[in-house]
Symmetry: C2
Subunit: 237 residues, 2 copies
Amino acid sequence: MKLEILAKTDGRNLQKTIISKIRDHINLKNLEPGDKLPSERMLSEKFGVTRSNVRDAIQKLEFYGLLESKPQSGTFVANIGVIAMNGMIDDILRLEEPGFKSLVETRILLELKTVRLAALRRTDEDLKTMKEALEAYNQKVIAGEDAVQEDLLFHLAIAKASRNSTMNNFMLLITPKIITNFEKYHVCDKNLANQGIEEHIAIYEAIKSQDPKLAKQKMKDHFNVLYQYCYNIKKSS
Amino acid sequence: MKLEILAKTDGRNLQKTIISKIRDHINLKNLEPGDKLPSERMLSEKFGVTRSNVRDAIQKLEFYGLLESKPQSGTFVANIGVIAMNGMIDDILRLEEPGFKSLVETRILLELKTVRLAALRRTDEDLKTMKEALEAYNQKVIAGEDAVQEDLLFHLAIAKASRNSTMNNFMLLITPKIITNFEKYHVCDKNLANQGIEEHIAIYEAIKSQDPKLAKQKMKDHFNVLYQYCYNIKKSS
DNA sequence: CCTTTTAAATTGGTTAGCCAGTTTTAACAG
DNA sequence: CTGTTAAAACTGGCTAACCAATTTAAAAGG
């Protein structure tokens, strides 16, 4: 077990090492936006690692918009100067795994915004999707079954109706992680789920009547109950 | 040029096709959390694509927390039921590339929160980092040079001081894309940069004196100027 | 029939080599 | 010396073979 963890952190540290070496190279050679990096083969030889490792590191930096790979041509420094490049790579390297608290804070922030935007921008089709998710949730709760999935889908339907693909994407990223934590700490019990029905309906109605302020307030109420309960669980565990 | 775009969309569509086929398989076989997917080899044969393509698709679903690959063992359905799985994959497939407006909206939302959290949680070290970024910015502006990078680093320093790794990560993700758009539309002119000095100082002082409300207000002021200018640019272009 | 042991098959990950474009170099004509 | 052309070298992506760990099957022992 220990070894498995070590292996994983080893892989992580290897990637971080390669990323920092790429940064060093950029600094040493004073590469500016648009300049070409050495080929993956040369970098892998220079760093004493496999080409796959280099590719993975480059892919990560591409994901953060710092590099850009062009097929059959090369990898290029993105339209970002060396100063910002250094600062950002530094931040990326020091970025730690998000804890539960971090995820919850971000979720609340995002949802209080998406619900507002959804109230302003929702189409009739969005409304239909939300209503379906809402009714699926209610049905499960009334039947006394677990409704975590349906709850998730209702909230994601709101995110989609917000018509902001960045926030929608972020919601898709963090929600599953939160759900996993919820189930781990056994949040979302039956009685809480019953209360959730009314709260969801209130949110839905506010979005339907295109009242952003009310929608935000109802979402706030929803979270208040949920996370008060949640933090109690956390403290007692 | 047309062909290049076609090739890219082809690759994208291929991955989306594979992802939807994986979803279909999960539905058809009624796979539940913890169940094992067929091996990458079998899936690649079944779908008539290369193993690399299957791996990439699985990696993406892993990124969104829907699958989990264990070395020398197999790929497993994450702790998420079929209903949520279907909904999420559907959302992921329909997710569109974020536009400029989407990015700006999200940035404002995130920064109004991170600046508040930074005021509450900043350590003395955070404060030092922010001050350094601030002074680097001022120096460049006073010298009449472009200070986009230094501006970026100041805002990222705030994100780091917020002590929320999820928001910090999100900021790192969207900021470069916004910067690119800024430079494309030639936002951030000299006169605007001069005004930026005072606004940055006001934000910094509010964080220093641990006044979250004031910090948020000063950030709001900062954005007001910036994006009023920005939207004018957009409209005229 | 059940438990233990062992060997064969299967797995995700890794590696070396191949491919189709791109880029650089060199050859050559004017 | 310059502009054009062709060919050689280089590039990121892709393919197939390989690897070590794991899982399954079967064989052995009780």
